[in-house]
């Protein structure tokens, strides 16, 4: 079963229009791998026929978009950001939030929820008694949000990066899957959100830590910068924005770069909001 060039272009354009994610040529295999099971389930003889069908079948289109916007994910992915969270960010925030004793975390491309629940586990272990945490998990895929809400993971997913001691502490078997404990599920709330939508952040609020990891790579340059621009007011003035390890080296245009300062926390780099600058700085005489 091979996807035709025209089908690939059609689906790539659709994904780009709806989610701003880019599927370059060369990613045909990925489209095929993700759509073949849907094509089979829908009774289509091949992926081309399925792609033709989703031009009119909106329910199938939703499913296809969901399947194509999945991020590969694992528990405590890359480890170092979580280490920086526990060792640096959390102690500082516990100091500065002593009055409210409340932390707000946003997992901004939560996929199936491993990032949000990994943070929930760390908060459960490290947050002092009497503190509360609100973890917002957002994603463009409604199917993914359902998964986060259910908090159920397959055996294969459980194997990815979750220490065995943590597994037995926070999960119980549920059929072939493992279910995250009710305590952790209560900490995480989900919301549908398309990062590329210019107005998506309007009512989202402000967060002490925003995790925007391994998702910018899917967007074109203009969208990437726009997200970083719009994100700024939603990170608390003394808060942290964490990008994926390959994304911190992004060359940003001056207006975006000026919004963020970078701070090295152990082995990860965090972006921190730069205090608002006066609108017009006077030009030094003689310059």
């Amino acid at each position: 079963m091979t996807i035709s060039t025209s089908s690939f272009q059609l689906i790539a354009a659709l994904v780009r229009r709806e989610t701003a994610m880019v599927y370059d040529s060369g990613k045909e295999y990925l489209v095929e791998a993700r759509l073949t099971p849907l094509a089979t389930a829908a009774g289509c003889p091949d992926v081309d026929a399925y792609i033709a069908r989703i031009s009119t079948d909106l329910a199938e289109r939703r499913k296809a978009l969901d399947a194509l916007t999945i991020n590969e994910t694992s528990w405590f992915r890359d480890q170092t950001p979580y280490q920086a969270f526990t060792e640096t960010m959390l102690p500082r925030l516990i100091e500065t939030r002593a009055a409210t004793r409340r932390l707000r975390i946003w997992s901004a491309a939560c996929s199936s929820g491993q990032e949000a629940y990994s943070i929930a586990m760390l908060l459960d272990q490290h947050l002092p008694p009497g503190w509360t945490a609100d973890i917002l998990a957002t994603d463009v895929s409604t199917a993914m949000l359902e998964r986060v809400r259910a908090g159920r993971y397959s055996q294969v997913e459980m194997n990815r990066g979750l220490p065995a001691t943590t597994l037995v502490k926070y999960f119980t078997r549920a059929g072939t899957e493992w279910e995250v404990s009710p305590e952790l599920r209560r900490m995480v709330r989900v919301q549908h959100l398309n990062l590329a939508d210019a107005y998506a952040f309007t009512a989202i609020g402000t967060y002490d830590v925003v995790l925007l990891r391994n998702v910018l790579i899917y967007f074109d340059q203009a969208t990437k910068y726009d997200i970083l621009r719009r994100m700024r007011p939603h990170v608390a003035p003394d808060g942290y924005l964490l990008l994926g390890s390959s994304e911190t080296t992004l060359d940003m245009p001056a207006d975006v770069a000026g919004l963020w300062s970078r701070e090295q926390l152990g082995r990860v780099q965090a972006h921190r909001p730069v205090a608002a600058v006066p609108v017009a700085s006077p030009t030094p005489i003689g310059a």
């Binding site: 694992s74 480890q79 055996q155 294969v156 194997n159 990815r160 065995a164």
Partner: protein, 127 residues
């Protein structure tokens, strides 16, 4: 780094051997716990053991208990790689001295993730 793969299936040993070779491990193999202990006693003590649970002659659980009973072998990292997937079995293996636990089936990434958790592999260096 030296790793010993202890599994009664040659196919499974081959899968694990290929994953570990990609991580620059030198590998030894044993078909059951008894064979692995014989290698230990002959001085072939690795840094890491990947241990199946259900095997003839000596199962992986007994093997782990035996290794943990010998102080000379306390530096060996033990990781179960088994189809035994009840929560109780994981707890039991950890209590007996296993450091990590991978449930079969697994993808190569799962092995790398766990070895990274154990500090035996560093993806950044590999990349």
């Amino acid at each position: 780094m030296r790793a010993m793969i202890i599994d009664d299936s040659r196919a499974m040993r081959s899968i694990l051997r290929r994953i570990l070779a990609g991580l620059d491990f030198e590998t030894l193999e044993a078909g059951n716990g008894r064979e692995a202990l014989d290698l230990f006693e002959a001085g072939q003590v690795p840094d890491l053991c990947l241990v199946d649970w259900n095997m003839p002659l000596m199962d992986g659980y007994t093997f782990i208990t035996e290794v943990r009973a010998n102080r000379d072998w306390r530096d060996v990292t033990l990781m179960m790689v088994t189809t035994e997937s009840e929560q109780g079995q994981i707890v039991k293996a950890l209590a007996a001295g296993a450091h990590e636990y991978v449930i079969k089936p697994f993808t190569p990434d799962a092995i790398v993730d766990k070895l990274e958790l154990l500090g035996l592999v560093n993806r950044e260096v590999l990349a």
